[in-house]
Amino acid sequence: MESGALEKGKDITVTNGANTQSVTPTSDETFTVGDIRTKLKDVLNIAPNAIATINGEEVDDTRLLSPGDNLQFIKRSGSKG
């Protein structure tokens, strides 16, 4: 897994709040949403219970990711003001 767009269009884009990271699977690698949540939890500060969406649709942690997917973890709204 590397950050940055090594193969444009083939990356999986992962977002949590304002922050984004790209994941470039090798030809024999597959990732589920849960795999990405675990791998990037510290880098992107992903909450364990954050809702995940792929291309705008809510998905669970077993969902297999495809190259080009836009995986977004929904960060909790700021509570203070």
Binding site: G17, T53, S77, G78, G81
Partner: protein, 232 residues
């Protein structure tokens, strides 16, 4: 009519540029109503904008009336509750929601979903990050999802409405915040308002409904969310 709910860390910084913008750009001077049951205290001076201690809505309204005498500014010195929301927010209004608890956000969101035309711009922050959510309902149809969509922390809030809290609970409820983060949230709310007014007047597109920012990384992310089964 424009309602500003919450005149604390975000709201107290939001109102001056909002009033300046409205004063300069509107042919008809809009009517603004500030709503907050809390009071400014000396300890708020580290990150909130006010000239005197006292009820936040009343003190803020006095400040804006002084600075922008052409605007109509009114104060409602009360917290928003399930009982008074029907009197405080009405069809056709724009609501800036800058409160410090999800319980109030839920009440406002639920009421806005019953109206025919409403613009709700909600902002909140933690210590270094925050977000803005835009809910637009036009002619009885949602153009963007409600602020509870994908946000269970608002749909099922763990915190309390300040109207239901004791004095001791209110005193304990404050957590460390940074004025810079409050300012960032207020600026993003104003940017959202500018974008929405252009969209609703046919001069621009609705670019985004949700915006996150993170001062720790300097990143901002805006996106237009769609709900699978929008409320009609």
């Amino acid at each position: 009519m424009i309602k500003v709910i919450g005149l604390g860390g975000i709201g107290s910084h939001l109102i001056s540029p909002l009033c300046r913008y409205l004063d300069a750009s509107s042919e008809e001077k809009p009517h603004l109503v500030f709503i907050d049951g809390d009071s400014y205290e000396a300890r708020n001076a580290d990150r909130q904008e006010f000239l005197d201690v006292g009820n936040k809505a009343e003190i803020s309204a006095e400040r804006m009336k002084r600075d922008f005498p052409g605007l109509q500014v009114e104060a409602k010195p009360q917290y928003v509750t399930e009982e008074n929301i029907f009197f405080l927010i009405n069809d056709g209004e724009t609501v800036f929601l800058a409160v410090d608890n999800h319980a109030t956000r839920k009440i406002v969101s639920a009421h806005c979903q019953t109206l025919t035309d409403i613009v709700l711009i909600s902002g909140g922050n933690e210590f270094l990050d925050g977000n803005v959510q835009i809910y637009i309902r036009e002619k009885g149809c949602d153009l963007t999802p409600p602020i509870t969509y994908l946000h269970p922390e608002i749909a099922n809030p763990e915190d309390k409405n300040p109207a239901e809290m004791s004095c001791e609970e209110l005193a304990r409820s404050g957590v460390a915040q940074l004025i810079v983060t409050n300012l960032a949230a207020s600026v993003h709310m104003l940017s959202a308002y500018w974008m929405v007014t252009r969209f609703l007047s046919g001069k621009g597109k609705l670019i985004y409904s949700d915006q996150d920012f993170d001062l720790a990384t300097g990143n901002t992310m805006a996106q237009l969310r769609k709900q699978a089964s929008p409320n009609k």
